[in-house]
Amino acid sequence: MHTDKYQHHDYYLMDELLTDEHKLIRETVRSWVKKELSPIIEDYAQRAEFPKQLVNGLADIGAFGPYIPTDYGGQGLDQISYGIIMQELERGDSGIRSTASVQSSLVMYPIYTFGSEEQRQKYLPKLATGEWIGSFGLTEPSHGSDPGSMVTHIKDMGDYVLLNGAKMWISNAPFCNLAVVWAKDENGVIRGMVVERGMEGFSTPETHNKWSLRASATGELVFDNVKVPKENLFPDIRGLKGPLSCLNSARYGIAWGAIGAALDCYDTALRYAKERIQFNKPLASFQLQQKKLAEMITEITKAQLLTWRLGVLKNENRATPAQISMAKRNNVAMALHIAREARQILGAMGITGEYSIMRHSMNLESVVTYEGTHDIHLLITGMDITGISAFQ
């Protein structure tokens, strides 16, 4: 069995910017990852299976709705705590972090923010304990970066709406108990609603043969004349800003998560470079390898500072969507680059499941695409600084 030797790296003494409680939360999630996740994750990723037995533990460590108020079963924690939990989970595996991100930011967050009091009471406590797992349906087969053009739609039938269409690339879909779904009404206005498993005409076929996020289940949400009761619609929110505000929260978590994946790759490569002897010397003694390692910790340190500051702004409710885009884009690209460099330091060992690097590297190929692609986030920054949209 694989032992997780991870040791944290804090080059600029960022810990001094955290509270004792932040550090305790980090230690807790890290211990849980070392004990429960690391020993099994490689096997599940190889078999492309989601380790369902982790759901209870994820709930216990507060990974489901950390910033949702305790009245609804959440933990009432701040945004930095949320980020730290995502960082530590993704240090283990981006797929498991994805499950937690979707549950917290894409399912619990919209139900808490846009839901009626009845919807909050009905869904949030069970989502917080992991008794129910949710998914988030925005992307469609023909509409990815441009979700505003979605074709999934609802028709008002009096007591209920009739939902038709399909969503694709949906994390947690194959086993979700409910889905937060975005669809257009007769006037082309985007509405959000909760679709429950068991509703007639609702199915969730799994997407197979992924090379990435293999320990996270991905699938479709197919709606064939599904009767969704009106009380399942979010009462007030209209338009793209509904789903986009969920994505903001999830992207913020991903910015932290990517640092976790990068730290794990760096940590593994650093240890390996010090132990592996070639030409009678450790790899770490060669300038080329030192350059790689030194650049890795430099980039990680920059990302840590950027993301901590974003967390402070988020706590004060001042983080703009464009600032979040910058951090998501920067950190995921940074992690992907580090994963590739770290893999090379391990030579042939780097491609095996003995080490986590190749898994991180493949996972990050999804992370750089979902929640807004690398390109789209750049266009968001471009639009923010020039005032001109280059999307269309």
């Binding site: 040791q7 003494l13 810990d15 004792d20 409680e21 550090k23 305790l24 939360i25 230690e27 807790t28 211990s31 849980w32 004990k35 216990d60 460590i61 507060g62 950390p66 305790t70 933990q75 009432g76 924690l77």
Partner: protein, 247 residues
Amino acid sequence: MNILVCISKVPDTTSKIAFTDNNTRFDSSNVQYIVNPSDEWYALVRALELKEQLGTGKVSIITVGLAEDDAIIRKALAIGADDAIRINALPADSFFVASQIAEYAKTQDYKLVLTGKETIDYNNAEVGGMVAELLGWEFITPANKLDVESDKVRVESELGGEILVLEAPMPVVISAAKGMADQRIPNMRGIMAARTKPITVVEPFNVAPLVAIQKFEMPPAKAGVKLVDPENMEELVRLLHDEAKVI
């Protein structure tokens, strides 16, 4: 039954060890502190299990240290201790620490005082025995299993490859070692609950330490490993005889 668990902070094993003031003081800057593993994993967790089994009583933790130690106290509270006592003094030596704990324990009605077998910084393994002596109680170490039966404890102690099964009347002091319990990772509910659990700060009792540290030294660097081919037993014998001088 009320149980007192003694916890100590120790540097994380990955910390870089350095000294200051002419090698007379441990350099604690940038050192990450953790709860001493055998205090946390065995003593505290077993105390909580006993409380859960008996369905009554309270588990309190005590540490001798300054305000910065509240971080490790909160962790122990997050794992499940009911309340905490911090004796507000730098832990000067084992006798000083043991005296503080014993003086405090005298004023309360604990039936069981648990410590870890030893701390991973100085590895003295002294505090438990001293507390017992100062209180006039029985002392058992190392305890690898611990059960409570009415007014006595039953302990399994692994010593020199044998397992001793011991019984002692309570009150008693026991130093916990591997096997007594399994590490408990605090959950988020525990962390939240720890925010409001009480930490009582007690000013130190007047006791003079018995030990003064003259100087710290790093252990000599480990000599390299010599690999001997399994076919070449003569070479192994030669090395053991001529170089290691053990045969």
